[in-house]
Homo-oligomer: 371 residues x 2
Amino acid sequence: MDRIRAQYELHCPPTAAAPLAEAVAHELTVEIPPALVPGGFVREQVLARTESLGIEALGEARHALELSFSAPLANRQIPQLLNLLFGNASMYPGVRLVGFELPPALLDAFAGPRFGIAGVRELCCATPGKALLASALKPRGIPLEQHEANAEAFAAGGGDILKDDQNLVDDSQAEFAHRIDRIATAVERGRERAGRGTQYFPHVAAPFEELRHRLEAVVDRGLRGVLLSPHVLGVDTARGLAAEFDLAFMAHPSFSGSYTVRHEAGLAPWVLWGQLWRLAGCDLSVFPNRGGRFDLSDEDTARVADALRRPWGALRPALPTPAGGMGFDNIPRMVGRYGPDTALLIGGALLGHGPDLGASTREFRAAIDAA
Amino acid sequence: MDRIRAQYELHCPPTAAAPLAEAVAHELTVEIPPALVPGGFVREQVLARTESLGIEALGEARHALELSFSAPLANRQIPQLLNLLFGNASMYPGVRLVGFELPPALLDAFAGPRFGIAGVRELCCATPGKALLASALKPRGIPLEQHEANAEAFAAGGGDILKDDQNLVDDSQAEFAHRIDRIATAVERGRERAGRGTQYFPHVAAPFEELRHRLEAVVDRGLRGVLLSPHVLGVDTARGLAAEFDLAFMAHPSFSGSYTVRHEAGLAPWVLWGQLWRLAGCDLSVFPNRGGRFDLSDEDTARVADALRRPWGALRPALPTPAGGMGFDNIPRMVGRYGPDTALLIGGALLGHGPDLGASTREFRAAIDAA
């Protein structure tokens, strides 16, 4: 295979499917009416090729389209890959990107996760064969001392990864450096008590001009990971920042749900939070769990996890990090569903479990280990 | 007004509206269950405040919600503003952001368009009181000589702004610098013949690490503007790049349509292509025209244009740049609808109008001037 392949669902009456398929093929590549497309190179190598169109192959008014693209059209970079696979098609109400494959020579352009599952597990000194327990510092607005106490308790209780809430944002570099130092110190106190390797991943959102300074502060403090929101910062901005620094990259879905939330348009969850983010180098992909506040189906979440973990060229696998909807009682079910190479991100349920966050963390930790 | 205000449409049964409003208010700020929100500062200053909820105020199962937020929660930056106004709410299938207002002290944090409408008009030596004619170099894959010939013809015919197609992307800095130099030279030849001020805006998509070099090449070549796709590169990445260089910033909607395409979720078109992009400093906002391949309503496009041009603190107005659906015959209607402070982006229709692009451009130019 030397061409890029992409699968789309088309949602329209059956008679409209073939014209829509042709429109999408033109839209994504030559962006001129079919009559104006020059023969030769442009028609043969630039215009997307319709590999197959299965009218109503997916159900009533749901059609399966596969396009292929010449690999050089992606220019070995994520921004142009986004243009090519879905740029202007994002404006079509009945077109959804549900998968893509890159030829090996193009896939080689992307370094993918720096740590991968094995690297993150090692970083956290995670118990072999057991899922990781992750949580979030929140809410914004409580005194720093209280965040510190929570951070220490979570680490002492045996949590693996503590991230900032994506609303924890500081006005300046100095405030950021001060805050993450205090939290990091608290995590260090807690993990010494527990004899574990709890990692703290600060959240970085900042004006473009300041992003690299924030990451430098994270590295300077000796921290090993960071939380970035690819669709708040830009997918390739997040990739580029993570690639520059020796940090594990946890990706947060803030501002990305609009791509997945309507099934007739946008991107399938496993394309967005699975393939695309792994290509962009995320080591941990946070996505909304089945049964949480944002309802995905079991099949959706299983496919996200699979896209993050399955063999894919030389790209390391990334840790599925489902979030939401995990109470103490359904830990066994979650571990059963996702398996051990998963980080369960449990925020509110952990905070609400009891008055002693350290004890709650120990209980959740034990439930995960027993599952 | 010292708080941020944001308006949402909720799409759900009437009995679900109040719980959904409460869920969104929590989701966007404290992100913990209501029972866990501490009293005092967090409940009063961090938790979003529900200003009003009009059950079925917008129609059957369509409710109007207004939330307000304490201004410091946005940290005077676009990434955190995205988190705050819509970050996790993007994952709710029935929540759409339809407007926002920032208090003056927060609005001051954003420089907005560098050139604005007056500046872009001046740059192009545009005919006073007449709409601008813009077009795109395409398709990718034709010989550079043909792009050059098209560029010269468009400039000689009296076009105002020529941009690259968003698929025109180069593999390296050297290829980019070479290509834009050739096109720029062709545009210069054409505009000398026409005695006008046609501007050429190259498209920049590149790996994060190379973006600034591309912009430097644009400046080094003496060009005055650039085409960036905010949702391909990141909204604040585009803003930051445009702010660093003395370039007019034309924003392209590639990969952004998923936010607007389904009316029950995402962002209203005028929030995305109007308010948000203007805040991010775009001088020209390209958005899908009514009647084009991507169908927006007349009201939608009028509201996008209004959001770009209406008085808004110290922010300069930006040029609405509707694209698509503009044939020669409906130029008068388009000019009538959008008014003179508009750039009509006409690609395929201009290329397909006749065999002589220079003559076609003159005809379109004359039709705009006569309208």
